[in-house]
Symmetry: C2
Subunit: 585 residues, 2 copies
Amino acid sequence: MFRTHTCGELRIAHAGQEVTLAGWVQRVRKMGGMTFIDLRDRFGITQLTFNQEKNADLCEKANKLGREFVIQVIGKVTERSNKNTQLPTGAIEILVNSLNVLNESQIPPFTIEDNTDGGDDIRMKYRYLDLRRTLVRENLELRHKIAFETRRYLDQLGFLEVETPVLIGSTPEGARDFVVPSRMNPGEFYALPQSPQTLKQLLMVSGFDRYFQIAKCFRDEDLRADRQPEFTQIDCEMSFVEQEDVLQTFEGMMKHLFRFVKNIDFTEDFLRMTWQDAMKYYGSDKPDIRFDMRLVELKEAVGGHNFVVFDSAEYVGGISASGCASYTRKQIDELTDFVKRPQIAAKGLVYIRCEENGSFKSSIDKFYTQEDLAGIASLFNAKSGDLILILAGDKTKTQKALCELRLEMGERLGLRDKNVYAPLWIIDFPLFEWDEETQRYFAMHHPFTSPKPEDIPLLDKDPGAVRANAYDLVVNGVELGGGSIRIFDSALQNKMFEKLGFSPQKAEAQFGFLMNAFKYGAPPHGGLAFGLDRLVALFAGLDSIRDCIAFPKNNSGRDVMLDAPSTIDSAQLDELNLRIDLQTT
Amino acid sequence: MFRTHTCGELRIAHAGQEVTLAGWVQRVRKMGGMTFIDLRDRFGITQLTFNQEKNADLCEKANKLGREFVIQVIGKVTERSNKNTQLPTGAIEILVNSLNVLNESQIPPFTIEDNTDGGDDIRMKYRYLDLRRTLVRENLELRHKIAFETRRYLDQLGFLEVETPVLIGSTPEGARDFVVPSRMNPGEFYALPQSPQTLKQLLMVSGFDRYFQIAKCFRDEDLRADRQPEFTQIDCEMSFVEQEDVLQTFEGMMKHLFRFVKNIDFTEDFLRMTWQDAMKYYGSDKPDIRFDMRLVELKEAVGGHNFVVFDSAEYVGGISASGCASYTRKQIDELTDFVKRPQIAAKGLVYIRCEENGSFKSSIDKFYTQEDLAGIASLFNAKSGDLILILAGDKTKTQKALCELRLEMGERLGLRDKNVYAPLWIIDFPLFEWDEETQRYFAMHHPFTSPKPEDIPLLDKDPGAVRANAYDLVVNGVELGGGSIRIFDSALQNKMFEKLGFSPQKAEAQFGFLMNAFKYGAPPHGGLAFGLDRLVALFAGLDSIRDCIAFPKNNSGRDVMLDAPSTIDSAQLDELNLRIDLQTT
């Protein structure tokens, strides 16, 4: 071992001991006849001191060390006169009497500090240096801890972690599969799993009863900031359960993680909200309920005043922002621009200021009397000083726009504190989603999701009204996970396929092995999957999942450090019976 | 929840309680007016009873249940008159008063019993039914436990589990890579990792200090019984360590696993043996030391007796099988056939029987006197009743053949008890391996393995004599894992590449990112990787790793259950800019 202690370990109680430390040179400072070095490793920073008077040669050697050199020192732990209370080791320093350079370092392309001077691109290219930064390393330490505590909780409850294969068959789940050509089976391809969904259902048919896996999943999608071609799920499934059992079990898991990772105790049950209410009051199936500011429907209240924008709209709704009546014209213009951005695409923004004197000032004063406006304000329970913001238009789009506006106002009002966690179960999702383009129903979750038994009669009459035994866990507006009770009855499953427009042949081709398995005694079962990357990002207060992944890919799916993907030998292509055909279209 | 208890939970203390159970019908037996059902789930089997007299309808319903039906019953826990001491629940039975068929089952294609009537192929096709068998399920339970305890041990020591990417660049490590065409980067391919070797070394450069990962690895090799295209490694790496630290840490891990998984305490240090000794005494770098029967070199002892087979051979050696002098001609012929099989390819087998009366009987009596034979026997410390078996020829091949013969004799003598574990570190591996075909040296482990510092001067003079800081852990003749101290000095690494015949350009192209990383302060580091599949197979007493994998592939790399790999749409090929070109050669 190159050390007796780590750089985060020594305290005043060690004073007088001779120790050996090894690590990286974070900083070299010369002061008078002394040289001070901050020696860093994963565990902390320890100050080394060299005295020009006592040992000039050694001090000279220390002065020549560059940033990020790897060194080993032997010295004596000594109480500091000038203690650093910011540092766990700040009460001591090491009076070095031997210095060994283990490895030199070129000058790193950016500073290895929390506030680095390195831009995103260079830090990704030199990710191994970026990972030396405390902020980045801590995200991965957190990730380890979350994964470990997840396993500890599930193991205690009798869940078995079962590894399912990565080289599987193509099981279309909405996104594109990554495929892997098989050399031994010419012309054929494996697919990488988008999730272990069907395999975990097979494990339930096998009687595994309680399964989980922290599993890599793969989707060949065009990437956004919070998407990666490979990502990690905490994938779970249980047998002989109903929805309530699943919710209880995994609410327990989240509470366990909050307790053991974040030191936060949730003693109350998580709130639950139906999908209908979530859409109605928050315009979203993943509402951020750290703050209230609910959407209020106004269509009835505002009608018949000859204001054509409202009268012609399918939906009129708004929010009330507490204490924002003092917003200037400029601020309101900013909000108008915000909702008019192409991503949101609202046509305009109506405001009502609830003035301190009890009067109202609005952009629709032409159409509404003070009394009318007071009536509208009362629907929001708005007080003097509040600002009501109203949008109108197509129902779904306008609710979505109001959702965005609400989040923006929450942000401006400081209501979205990253250290506050507001978990919420969304339940009673619709089973189907209507697709305008293809004029047919899609499964909102996936084709194995069970309808609520009481809604089964609606399958033929009114598919859009059928609710599913499906649920999502949302925290602070982030969908952390979701799942459902599955169909375990072959007849019902066939009916689902029919409703989803699968021919029996297509259903057989894609899900035949699962349908076959269901013929041999499938138990009632259900489960869910959490996005581990999102969970870590949430606990770390990160905006992008990329920051909690050791070696992430960029938006073109490239690992710029490894320079992957890359071309391969023609010999290898021959072995795989493949040719590249770069189309010019 | 569909049950109040599992099928493995109820004891005499529960007598009198009303319970709800759910599970699979294992067996239905009618005896007199009674029907008995064994109800099975993952946790055990509980006997249900139905009384024709008391409730004829219910009993009738029970009689109609088929094997593997999924049922739910409500009933009263009752003490059995006829207790089954083989079964943890054998003291009680459930007097059923309500029966609910949750799902029917077709007659399964083979019996769901430890001794099934199903052949290998059908069990693989219906793997989800095969997994219902207790024997198979227990292997996966064991796998879960080993993985969990591995993580618990390493977490306690401050190791961080870091997920490395599955879509990486091609880093040739001896075997073929599986590749994944990139849609977003036309004509380019990701590779699936053969191991996270280079990535874990980058993590050491990043200062992660102690890393592990239970990681899926992929090799596109032609398959054998104990190979799978995807397999799982317990991959580990440490910084600021020397070989001794790595051995201590992972000997500790193995002892932890033996203790907490197998309930076996290893209080002694594991034996260590140099690679040289392993080859000399066992003819193998993974000797099974559950039994002794060492190889004895005889070249000197047997020379000069005009026996041309021995005189012309590079190597003569043998083993002594205790108590086998009574082997018949037929038995010795069997052994001769055994060593002549093409896999072993010895030319013949010489025996010396150490008779009970102190005389010797051998197949080379023509050339050797009784005294000569006594002299040979004494080299083996052979006693009356022992049988000496001798092979001659090329040194490497003959040692290997003797190794096989030794294992065969160990098997015949019952010396390879699956419940006995004999762990052994093999150390001091050669750094290079000479390849006759290409007339050049290859890295025995991989190009990053560090030579022993004292052997570095030999790198130029006598590369074949350079020993590596490399080690394997062998248990019962199975190589469970191996690793090395890595080179962390760029100059030495470049020298290694040169010795291995890499041009600077080729080294840069293949390992440039790692060599670059080493310029920024790489710490001394080393590690190892265990094969999780092999470890589970060893603990479970299995001959093939396939039996401890939930959904294994067959020898053609096919998952016959999923029917993967398979063809894909031409539209998908177009998107990937690929064409299939099935060559007729």
